[in-house]
Subunit: 338 residues, 2 copies
């Protein structure tokens, strides 16, 4: 509440809000069509040449760059397109836009039918899980990996299991850093595991990696688990919540991997103190989407308060600068020698 | 091109663009769920009470207002929501957001598959025509009607035909202004005509209105057309283009209505001189969508240059302030006594 009854002027106008919504779809599409990567690599792009080479409609391609230019991601000059002031930042954040405008498009478009309690039964919303996987891969690469690799560097281990391994990108990366280690990928999704097997084969790592289909938040005991000494779990920890279920999951993980020495749990928590008018990229979409989907997001404080009861000791907490309230928790079994 | 190699800073950041995209969906949904109308009528809204009364999920409803607050449409204060500086402008423009984030959501989400030439066959995109109709009704009411009613005021006529009458809102309004006139609604869509008949009946105007299903851009001669002396045609004129087809349509209309004295043609033209970074609300979405759909949008200049060849004389051109380059052309048959 302000004592001054005259409201401060808004930075963004109605037109800015509208044009940004158009631009958000354009960012996602321009990335998919290869335009953002070309502009990241080259100083300029010729629109006609780009459309012709990729067999795209000329007018619609021109429109795509018009949308990007409206919020200064690119500048149009004659038939060419150059990077504008927002390019570098948007390019790094393109996964967030892809998550929103491609992966969650249907969820957000149907907001008015997702909110009524009467509709919130069965599969009452749809998202594009393939697009979300592509988006998360880029988000991981640009935001989580720099911190993850620093956390990994001093760790010694012989066998890593990645919980919710998806397409096995993380496993492959970790085994690249640690040439003598072996790996295990666990995921509930058969489609993801087929992709993972292809990626592992392509990386020439078949002899060092096993893949197991199971619920990564509560895996059944498995002979392959016995010699795992490092667990990694990224961007899915919130699926263990609410609290009681998270405690149970953490205990099950502790029991399922008897010789584990470290659990690296990276996730984005629900923010609690951001002013409504100064929310960094991704946070708003992430939190609104999960509330729409009825998925509980724990805060950093709630996370910190659950580990002891779940059988783990928090050694260190590595902050990831963006998205807001993202962190990699470095945990060890509570019953291990400290 | 600027001589200064240092780019001016952008008004909007990456986070602003992202949050605006989330907010755009929220505007559309908040309107559908009645929240915007309540905030327009009352100083504040209690979130819990609003969710309970409308049987909406509490958390998701809170998230909806969080999204609106992020771009200063509302301000959240405790459990209440108040209008913020962007409210009045966004409320007036809500039809544009509904058009974009509800009506055209699927088109924009699928941009990357709409652009490749190989995909541009058959029904290669989908829009929600019901949502677009609702959006256009609000756009008409807030932006075109004030100009339309001023243009209509001095006109004398006995029978008006509305081309592309949709749900007959415009016809009903015109007959309210002119209590002795009769009306004719023409539309290709059977669904729209059923809605129109219900609206006409509900307005007690059944004895003054006939509805005919036909292509409004090229209607076949009909006995009901003979005594029509006023034609109205709104937000569909661009469907007559490209130019050759527009000339043919205008001639067919002239021939089909032998006693017409005026044609009021209201439409939004393609802009030609707006700077990329200063585009007023709606224009970008409207132009990008039509380029994606492969629909030609004429400019104001192109419109002005087609009437004589189509058999009409432009008497006056009434500018509609928003959307940009919107106009109501006031035309009379070229062969009438000037």
């Amino acid at each position: 509440m302000t004592e001054n009854l005259v409201l401060a002027p808004a930075r963004m106008t109605t037109a800015d809000i509208f044009n940004s919504a158009v631009a958000s779809s354009a960012i996602s599409a321009a990335w998919e069509l290869g335009a953002l990567d070309e502009l990241a690599a080259n100083e300029k792009l010729d629109v006609t040449e780009f459309a012709t080479r990729n067999d795209l409609d000329q007018q619609a391609t021109e429109a795509l760059f018009h949308a990007l230019a409206s919020v200064r991601i690119v500048e149009r000059s004659g038939g060419a397109v150059l990077r504008d002031v927002n390019f570098a930042d948007v390019y790094k954040a393109k996964g967030f836009f892809h998550w929103l405008s491609r992966g969650c498009a249907e969820l957000f478009a149907n907001t008015s039918s997702v909110l009524p309690n009467g509709n919130r039964v069965g599969e009452y919303y749809r998202r594009d899980s393939a697009a979300i996987a592509v988006a998360c891969r880029d988000i991981n690469k640009n935001f989580f990996d720099p911190v993850f690799s620093a956390v990994m560097a001093p760790l010694e281990f012989t066998k890593v299991a990645d919980l919710g391994c998806g397409s096995a990108e993380r496993l492959i990366k970790v085994l690249g850093w640690h040439p003598t280690a072996t790996g295990l990928g666990i995921d509930i999704a058969g489609g993801a595991l087929r992709l993972a097997q292809e990626s592992v084969d392509a990386a020439g790592l078949s002899y060092r990696v096993s893949l197991i289909q199971d619920d990564a938040t509560a895996p059944r005991p498995h002979p392959e688990f016995t010699d795992v000494d490092l667990l990694t779990c990224f961007l899915m920890g919130h699926d263990m919540w609410p609290r009681d279920e998270c405690v149970a999951s953490l205990r099950k993980l502790r029991a399922a991997f008897p010789n584990v020495k470290r659990l690296l749990l990276g996730d984005t928590a629900r923010t609690t103190s951001l002013p409504d008018t100064d929310i960094p990229v991704f946070t708003l979409g992430f939190e609104v989407a999960h509330r729409m989907m009825g998925v509980y997001l724990p805060t950093l404080e709630e996370w910190s308060g659950v580990f002891a009861e779940g059988g783990w000791r928090l050694i260190r907490q590595h902050l990831v600068p963006l998205p807001a309230d993202s962190v990699i928790f470095e945990l060890e079994p509570a019953d291990s020698a400290a």
